[in-house]
């Protein structure tokens, strides 16, 4: 305790004067903060407010009727469109969780376990290849593999494991999950790999030297310090999964109707209020989700402290 206090005092001593200077500077230049807040208000809050207010109009024969009503919101529930939002959230969260469970051990091994630099370079190169390929081209291949006359069903039937083709391999929620997990593996794995790669090996050695078990080293050193990568991976995976359009369209057979498909359908009838209502609904759900995630994150400790690893 004493050491920590001394260290804190020692740190606070030399930096206290510049901090004071910063405050004075900030006090003199209050307009900078005001400008940032104004820009944030104009660029973020105003469009959201416009979006929200637009959801109270409706469309008739391709024309937006600027008469406030709840019709669009009512129709959102009557047509089952709100289910689209919930379905999208459910699938996106499931895919993100699967990615995390698969990508974290892989990234840990790649960063700290893989001793061959060549193998590591090859694997990282393989992870980046999908960024250079069109999603549609990558996804459409799976239809030939997972279809009733596809490779998987042929193998299953030849091996005598099934008598008839397994139908749910394609055009089902299972195939949509599969397509998304395959597509979004690199965005989850790469940031985690980067974060774990930045952890100083000396910290891990010190933990070993002090008698910690591998699990203790992992849970008290590696996991907290890799949280920035995990957070980045979750954001890079959850965002595209929420906006997924190609995979549900190509592998879901049209009946796994997700948000992007539903919004696109509304656009064809120029139903901008429906698009606005759907987007508002998603934002509200995401805010609730974010709040829940922050509550959970607090249980793991001070998230901001884990960003110190980036200084190294």
């Amino acid at each position: 305790m004493t050491m920590i206090s001394a260290a804190s005092e020692g740190e606070a001593g030399p930096v206290s004067r510049p901090r004071l200077g910063l405050r004075q500077w900030a006090a003199r230049t209050n307009w900078v903060l005001g400008l940032i807040l104004l820009a944030w208000f104009v660029l973020v809050i105003v469009p959201l407010a416009v979006l929200f207010s637009f959801s109270f109009f409706e469309t008739k024969s391709y024309f937006t009727i600027y008469r406030p009503s709840l019709n669009t919101w009512i129709s959102l529930f009557e047509s089952g469109r709100f289910e689209v939002t919930l379905r999208t959230l459910r699938i996106a969260l499931t895919v993100t969780l699967i990615e995390l469970l698969v990508a974290y051990p892989f990234a840990l091994w790649l960063a700290k376990g893989c001793r061959s630099k060549t193998l590591r370079a090859v694997l990282i190169a393989l992870l980046t290849i999908p960024f250079f390929l069109d999603t549609s081209s990558r996804t459409i291949i799976w239809r030939a593999i997972l279809g009733q006359n596809g490779l998987v069903n042929s193998l299953l039937m030849q091996a005598g494991l099934t008598d008839a083709p397994v139908e749910w391999l394609l055009y089902s929620e299972v195939s949509v999950h599969f397509g998304l997990v395959v597509s979004l593996f690199p965005p989850m794995a790469l940031p985690i790999y980067m974060a774990i790669g930045l952890i100083d090996d000396e910290l891990i050695k010190a933990s070993d030297d002090l008698g910690a078990t591998p699990w203790q080293t992992f849970s008290r050193i590696v996991l907290p310090l890799s949280l920035p990568g995990v957070m980045a991976g979750v954001v890079f995976t959850l965002g595209p999964a929420l906006a997924a359009w190609v995979e549900p369209g190509m592998l879901g057979g049209g009946f796994v109707n997700l948000l992007s498909n539903s919004i696109e359908s509304a656009y064809t009838a120029l139903r901008y209020p429906v698009v606005a209502a759907l987007s508002t609904f998603v934002i509200l759900l995401l805010l609730a989700l974010l709040g829940a995630m922050m509550l959970v994150a607090r249980r793991f400790g001070d998230l901001s402290s884990s960003f110190r690893v980036l200084k190294g």
Binding site: E58, G80, V84, G253
Partner: protein
């Protein structure tokens, strides 16, 4: 339309000033693609007509037209989405740059009365083939609005039904018997083996046509279902979906071909060229495109003149191009290169004969003419812009989410 709450005022505003600057920029951006579809460098002194629309209406090579008319056509391709197309025409004010718009039927119902399309001058001396063009084409809903105003000239068209595998359904591949749309919706032989287009304007009308033919419901306009009518169709489709009738929905031409060539389904409501493409891989007549008992999704592309173009100095050239769309050269080239029919197919046969085409090519043109005449005698004419689009889209979503 006078309602102060409607977007009509927005359009007026955009027309005047607000969007003019951005519109001009967007228009130029849209026309940026012109190079890909435009003919080679313009000859000196040659009149130019600028067109904007779906690329399927373009000739693969405009040289024959330039040689025949002495007119250079610069065509930029539009998106197939009617919403995108109308946004380009309205918000971007493309009429300031473009002389002719070419799109699938429906836009004329909205953009014509709004004054963005100019009415067709049927007495224009350059429109020499107008009189001989049959009313089936020139007075169809593709080029007229519901009030009968003439906003366009027919360009190409077809009557869509469904592709099927004769062998799987026990039908003689050579047979041209009329099949029922029940194969699509209710036949036990096809349960779980049907692909249905995921577009409400394309798929709801044929379901309504089937229900009407069965005598279980009546519809005022199969292409434009009211709220109650759309609900009746959606209820039927939901019931069939729950019965496991549909294997999948499809959303693109490439998907249609893949579903057929992989034999993932036995029946699919699709474009005719998809069947042709599948047969290239599977062998002649492995799949067939149905003649139906009840009718077809009849569609057509029209050419519409931009209102602003009537004040420019190339109106004669514009009307010569419109007339060319009715003539034999365009007809024959479109039928041969893309397989599409259109008005005055007999002139296409005449052109092919006079220009030394092979007997097989001429016979194919005659077959196309006979096929279209047979199909076009049945209902119904489709539209991309049903005025009840909002309720139809809503009910289609209910079907998808059920």
């Amino acid at each position: 339309m006078k309602d102060r709450f409607s977007t009509h005022s927005q359009i007026e505003l955009s027309r005047r000033a607000l969007l003019k600057a951005t519109g001009a920029m967007a228009g130029l951006a849209a026309l940026g693609g012109a190079a890909t579809l435009a003919s080679p460098a313009r000859a000196q002194g040659e009149t130019t007509v600028r067109a904007y629309g779906v690329p399927t209406a373009a000739l693969k090579d405009w040289t024959p037209m330039r040689q025949s008319l002495g007119i250079n056509v610069e065509m930029s391709g539009s998106n197939n989405d009617v919403g995108v197309f109308m946004r380009d025409v309205v918000a971007s004010q493309l009429g300031d740059e473009v002389d002719i718009f070419i799109f699938e039927s429906g836009t004329e119902d909205i953009l014509g009365p709004q004054g963005l399309y100019a009415p067709i001058d049927e007495s224009n001396p350059n429109l020499t083939l107008w009189e001989r063009t049959s009313d089936d084409w020139k007075r169809s809903a593709v080029v007229q609005d519901p009030e009968g105003n003439q906003w366009g000239v027919p360009v190409i068209g077809n009557a869509d039904s469904f592709g099927y595998f004769p062998a799987k359904l026990g039908i003689d591949p050579a047979s041209e018997e009329e099949l029922s749309w029940s194969l699509m919706f209710e036949d036990e032989r096809t349960r779980g083996r049907v692909a249905y287009a995921n577009t409400y304007t394309y798929s709801m009308g044929v379901a309504a046509l089937y229900l009407q033919s069965k005598g279980v419901a009546t519809f005022e306009d199969l292409a434009n279902l009211s709220a109650e009518e759309a609900k009746a169709v959606a209820d039927f489709l939901i019931e069939r979906k729950k019965a496991g009738q549909f294997r999948t929905l499809h959303g693109s031409f490439e998907e249609q071909i893949q579903l057929l060539t992989n034999q993932e389904v036995d029946v699919i409501n699709c474009w005719e060229p998809a069947v042709r493409e599948a047969n290239l891989k599977l062998g002649p007549d492995a799949t067939r495109y149905a003649y139906t008992k009840e009718g077809y999704f009849k569609w057509g592309h029209g050419a519409y003149v931009a209102a602003q173009a009537m004040e420019r100095d190339n109106v004669d050239a514009i009307y010569k191009v419109l007339n060319y769309f009715l003539d034999g050269e365009y007809r024959a080239l479109q039928a041969r290169d893309r397989g599409y029919a259109g008005p005055n197919m007999d002139l296409g046969v005449e052109y092919a004969t006079e220009n030394g085409w092979t007997p097989e090519e001429i016979e194919a043109l005659r077959a196309t003419e006979a096929k279209v005449n047979r199909k076009f005698s049945k209902p119904f004419v489709s539209t991309t812009t049903p005025s009840n689009a909002d309720v139809m889209e809503e009910e289609w979503q209910r079907f998808l989410n059920s």
